[in-house]
Symmetry: C2
Subunit: 801 residues, 2 copies
């Protein structure tokens, strides 16, 4: 057991490292040449420009204003100051609701900590269980003296812990209930106040049964004309456009090179030459610009051919379609009802946002889906409980003996002392570390294999699995000894009522371990997050070696996103630790509160300035967050029950059994009361928006608006690029919604983002400014994201004759 001074030392080290990270961040973020690393979101929104213009060359790279260094923690209040409504406009509802998870942590654990320190600490401290048991050769520390370990077995003082457990449960449930209510209201308000978006009118139809006489497109049209005669508007068949995607990507790369060589020509007035062979190292020399022009022309023709093939060949049509309706009401009706007798064909569901669609999964048939789920369930079980086996195998191979055995001819090399110590000290650990780094990716691949149709649902699935993995391998794995598989074996050989006892006994013993875990992962780790070391290094490397054009520089920015699939399970671990330790070892609570507070500020800053959310699901993940906190609560109740049993306070067990039952009931109540807000779209809302829209814009050409909303991203990029000549871009102008922010064309406009430049001077954007950055209609922002040249060309250059 660690003593208070041990903990204090560890805390000092971690606070120091967090402090160093913050100082480094404060210095780095003020340097203009890092601007695109620390404020990419503002660049992506077109509200910030390179600080290159004006000033000396020196000032271009280094900030020499010493005053700005003094207030190096100023970004923190700045991050907090932006009001929530404005933040929703700025970063979307997903990000704001994600931040609320940290807030919930504070709302739950601050009162819990006060209660625990006011009631439990005195009760524990004045007991003398440990003093008595010292006779039995047990050492104890100050931490143990204020934990439940200090209460004597069979003492009446445990009633305090039971009453407090009730208080904690009611408090947590109250906060959760209020929060669910609030988030559901926010979601509904967000959906209601949204501008017209394609996904409000559109339903994704999957598993369209094959028909010998009709193409998928005709089939869809006939089906919906018959079954939704009053509301059906149009549809968009899903094509298998993987080849096309490759070609378009290739062409884009070539165009990029062309710009680079044209720039070079302008600068040097010398026509650049390249070799056509392997990697430009061998082969005949040709004029670079001519060569690229020729290549691009060739590719354009190829793309046109491929596009024709995809649209005309029935084989590349997938049995799925996006069906759009004349009204939101029509779409809401279609999405929530069953279409035909066979519940596995003509499956309708809300279309995800266009940028949220995960295209390649749209055509998986029903039977295949169920089989994939089964396979992945089994695979995940083995991954969770047996992942140590292959790693142990790799570790054996990577040991000295292993290498000697499998590759005796390496003997001379591994005898070198440096390599020897490297292998001994580094290789075994690296296998495990690599696995843990790649685990979220593995889980994402598993989710993709399972066939979810949108990126948001993929992330939610991966998050659920990551949570279970963390629970088994971090929480249980550190509480109990042995690998997960050994634990599983132990559990199988134990009686069911011994589980809580096993875990309950281990809980107080491991308090100091988890405190240091919280400090390393939660304090220093979060502080490191704000420094963004990896994107910083990669950006500068790219900038130095790869960036050829202005567009390249833009693409070198790696804004990243919240990463729900890794971030949320990580928070949940803190909820679990906090709730489990609250009635047992209240010492843990302050550390958790610091984590939640720090993480809230850091992530709020990151969301304002850095992260660029790829999609907007309208906080669809909240039911998952809620249920996981409820699970943590139930686990904490069961563990306390087990612990009190070992403490011979068995007469109190009936009082504790009521707690999980009440909590499960609470969960069911919340589920029934709020969950549908995240799953369904009420007809009343739809009708209200429809009526309003009809009144305000009676002449709206909805069909034109929806026609190409759900074209495959790459397919549309190629369409837009090539079809500018056909006057196709005119249709954009018929729209009444705000036009997309034109990233490059806005460069140098007199709208510098006041908040992000100094964070100190003016805390928030003027109302008008932030309104301008409301979520642009997603369709356009997608096309704007994938091919940034589109909005420019379509708005600046008139259609060619």
């Amino acid at each position: 057991m660690a003593t208070l001074s041990d903990i204090a030392l560890a805390a000092a080290i971690n606070i120091l490292s967090a402090f160093i990270f913050f100082v480094a961040f404060a210095i780095l973020r003020l340097q203009p040449f890092n601007d695109r690393v620390y404020f990419p979101k503002w660049y992506l929104k077109g509200l910030r420009t390179d600080p290159v213009h004006g000033g000396t060359l020196m000032r271009k790279f280094v900030n020499l204003d010493w005053k700005s260094y003094v207030r190096f923690l100023n970004w923190m209040p700045a991050a907090i100051r932006m009001p929530e409504l404005e933040l929703i406009d700025h970063a979307g509802l997903d990000s704001v609701v994600y931040l609320r998870i940290y807030l919930i942590g504070l709302k739950i654990f601050v009162p819990i900590a006060f209660l625990a320190w006011a009631v439990l600490v005195p009760v524990n401290w004045t007991s003398d269980g440990l003093a008595n048991s010292k006779l039995k050769n047990l050492t104890s520390s100050d931490i143990d003296r204020i934990s439940i370990s200090n209460v004597q077995s069979g003492s009446q003082r445990f009633w305090a812990h039971i009453v407090i457990a009730y208080a904690f449960t009611f408090l947590t449930c109250f906060v959760l209930l209020k929060e669910y209510e609030k988030v559901a209201a926010m979601r509904l308000h967000f959906l209601a106040s949204e501008k017209r978006r394609a996904d409000q009118f559109t339903v994704l139809v999957r598993n369209i049964p094959p028909d010998p006489d009709e193409s998928v497109g005709e089939l869809v049209e006939h089906f919906f004309l018959v079954n939704h005669p009053d509301t059906y508007l149009t549809h968009q068949v899903v094509y298998n456009a993987n080849t096309l995607a490759k070609l378009v990507k290739k062409k884009k790369k070539l165009q990029n090179w062309l710009v680079y060589y044209q720039n070079k020509l302008e600068r040097t007035s010398q026509r650049p030459e390249i070799k056509t062979g392997f990697l430009g190292l061998c082969g005949a020399k040709v004029d670079a610009i001519d060569h690229h022009n020729a290549e691009i022309d060739r590719l354009s023709k190829e793309i046109a051919l491929e596009r024709d093939k995809v649209t005309n060949d029935p084989k590349s049509t997938m049995p799925a379609a996006f069906v759009s309706f004349k009204s939101r009401w029509g779409a809401a009706v279609c999405a929530q009802t069953q279409q035909t007798r066979n519940p596995t064909s003509w499956l309708t569901d809300w279309a995800p946002e266009p940028r949220d669609v995960y295209w390649s999964n749209l055509a998986i048939p029903y039977v295949s889906l169920t089989i994939r789920r089964l396979i992945m369930a089994v695979a995940f079980f083995f991954l969770t409980f047996f992942f140590m086996i292959p790693i142990a195998f790799v570790q054996t191979l990577a040991s000295l003996d292993g290498i000697r055995k499998s590759a005796p001819w390496l003997e001379p090399i591994i005898s070198v002392p440096f390599i020897k110590s490297f292998i001994q000290g580094f290789l075994p650990g690296i296998a495990l570390k690599l696995f843990l780094i790649f685990l979220p990716t593995i889980l994402m691949i598993m989710a993709k294999f399972e066939g979810f149709g949108s990126i948001s649902s993929l992330e939610r699935r991966a998050a659920a699995r990551y949570y279970i993995f963390n629970f088994v391998n971090i929480f249980l794995g550190n509480l109990l000894t042995g690998t997960a598989f050994q634990q599983l074996d132990t559990f199988l050989h134990q009686s069911a009522n011994e589980y809580p006892i096993t875990i309950g006994t281990a809980i107080p013993l491991k308090a100091s371990f988890f405190i240091s875990y919280i400090m390393v992962d939660g304090w220093a780790g979060i502080a490191a997050e704000v420094l963004m070391l990896k994107p910083l290094i990669i950006y500068h490397l790219k900038n130095f070696f790869l960036v050829k054009t202005e567009k390249d520089r833009e693409e070198a920015m790696d804004a990243g996103s919240i990463g729900f699939n890794t971030g949320e399970p990580r928070i949940q671990l803190y909820f679990l630790l906090g709730l489990v330790y609250a009635p047992v070892t209240p010492t843990v609570l302050p550390f958790i509160i610091v984590f939640f507070g720090l993480a809230y500020v850091v992530f709020r800053h990151q969301i304002i300035n850095v992260y660029n959310q790829e999609y907007e699901s309208g906080a669809a993940f909240w039911p998952d967050v809620h249920v996981r906190i409820v699970i943590a609560l139930i686990i904490s109740q069961i563990v306390l029950m087990g612990l009190l049993t070992t403490k011979k306070a068995a007469q109190s067990t009936p009082f504790l059994i009521a707690l999980p039952i009440l909590t499960i009931w609470f969960h069911r109540y919340c589920k029934g009361r709020f969950e549908s807000a995240f799953v369904k779209y009420p007809l009343q809302e739809a009708m209200m928006k429809d009526t309003l829209e009809r009144a305000t814009e009676p002449n709206l050409n909805l069909k034109a608006y929806l026609q190409n909303a759900y074209v495959h991203r790459v397919f549309k990029a190629s369409l837009d690029e090539d079809d500018d000549e056909d006057g196709d871009s005119q249709k954009w102008e018929t729209e009444s919604v705000p036009v997309p922010t034109k990233r490059q064309s806005r460069r140098g406009t007199p709208v510098p983002s006041k908040i992000s430049v100094s964070g100190a001077s003016s805390p928030s954007l003027p109302e008008r400014q932030s309104r301008r950055s409301t979520p642009v209609p997603s369709k356009i922002s997608v096309s704007g994201a994938s091919s940034p040249s589109l909005p420019d060309s379509s708005f600046r250059s008139p259609p060619e004759p």
Copy 2:
């Protein structure tokens, strides 16, 4: 362990008693005075009349035709002969699908029995495990020699059992899959081919939020006019009509007496007189007919007053309404979608059939519902595991010592030898027996308290609970020793992997017990079912003492119904026993097959001739049946795993673990594939029916048809009776659907039910006849059932001026 001869003796006894029941049934059913007991369904359908007309007085009561006694089992082939389609017309889909459960039993267990006897019995028989273990003082019988007990521990022969377990699983799943497919198709076909019914157009709206300015009716109208503008037709508010119901019942009783006295007057030409005091024993003498007429007039006025009060007083309006739409499509849309932001208000769901509505539960608010569910869940847990405690308490009280203690003044009475032996031998057992008899009623009351809105869902809920109770207290309770609570305690103190071992070891030991259970409950019990002893006695008692008028005689008939809430769990027990014993003790299988065969014939006969289903849910219970058989399959696999572990065949466990996983996956597949057919109503189907109807009946007045479909049963009865004068009955005649069968007016028509009169002469009704007995529009049959005078008066007498 019972020997083969023991079993043979028990079988002989049970076969004999079954035989006696059948003979008794054959004799009793041929007696004309029992006709209404054994063929009530035909009376209720109006296809059979009292065999009173013609013949001597003797023949009126006793059947003297000796030939009809010879072929006393002839009802069996007759019961089987009616084709399934005709049976659906005759008795509804619920009954037919219920019969299919027995058929599934045959389909699963006949091939399983063949396989088991062909493979397992030789394998077990030729082993010598028991011969070896006899040295260890174990006795064994022939049954044990062909069970798995005879295979030596650690033998390689267990592979046969494992392979067979796979075969059983695949066979069962195959049958289940085919059956689910078939039943889903039957349900959809049934719904599609149904005549126009009110519930196809109607949605039940619950939890309408209170509005200070509008009444519920206005609120509903406005809400649906706004949110379903194209399809909304009309609505019917639900009233709290309990007082009215009482008054109407009282009036009906008085009218009945009036008819009795009028008959008496006709017969005796003497005006009957009664006393007005208590029970007609004291008070002033008055003329009975005048008195009753006056009373009926008074009540009619009271009813009119009360009706005005109910319809006009907003307090007696419940926040629920039946909303009808112009098309099935509109109703399907409304039933499957969410209406408002708040998922606990404006809850829409398919309206149950009018006769299926459970009125008093329609107004329970959401929060109350969730609390009720919680309370009932806890209550059911205690009921299942601790029901022995109050019974044991009653048994102590009812023992001699208990009575002596609590009521010493009874001492002289209980010293009488006869009373003493009665108390000792009978009272303790009667408490348990009474509890078990009332258990289904208790479970139904619990389901009602939970607030389900239709009788069919109440029965399904009660069935689920009864199944769990049976599983714990009959299956586990007889396998293991001690009460359910003691078992629970044992299980809690056992490790999780010992559960299957505990049960697995007990399974082969209890084979002979369950064989005799099957014979007593399954063979003799089913044979007793056909005899209908209780309804027979009650009918004759009523006939003798109470029946005053022809209508009374009709009401004295107790047709009963299948009783899904008790019948289905009982069948499931046999599935469980069969699947668990199939790989262990194949001897059990033939007994189960006999049960399923016998029960199929008996219940088919009962459904054709006796039961009168109260509602038609369209086989909505099938998903429950399916999932319970799957659970039985999984339990059998786990038990086999435990058994093989004790047999030291542990290396085979991994092969068995795959089975439950595959089975669970199979269940999920089936759920996704078929369940929605039982929950939702596809729009395509609705649209097809709408289109067809619009083409064939363009001038249909749907509003008139739907207007009073969902009036409270009693409220409607009073409406109809009193409003005949207002010409209200004319609307019935606008309907194109077949008019209700007029029970009394059809008396003596030339359509005797050929099938039921002799069961031997002509097996089935001519096609045309049975078509005429298609499900009549439910609304009318309800009113026809509650107040039989309505159809007569409305069809025979022209509306009074």
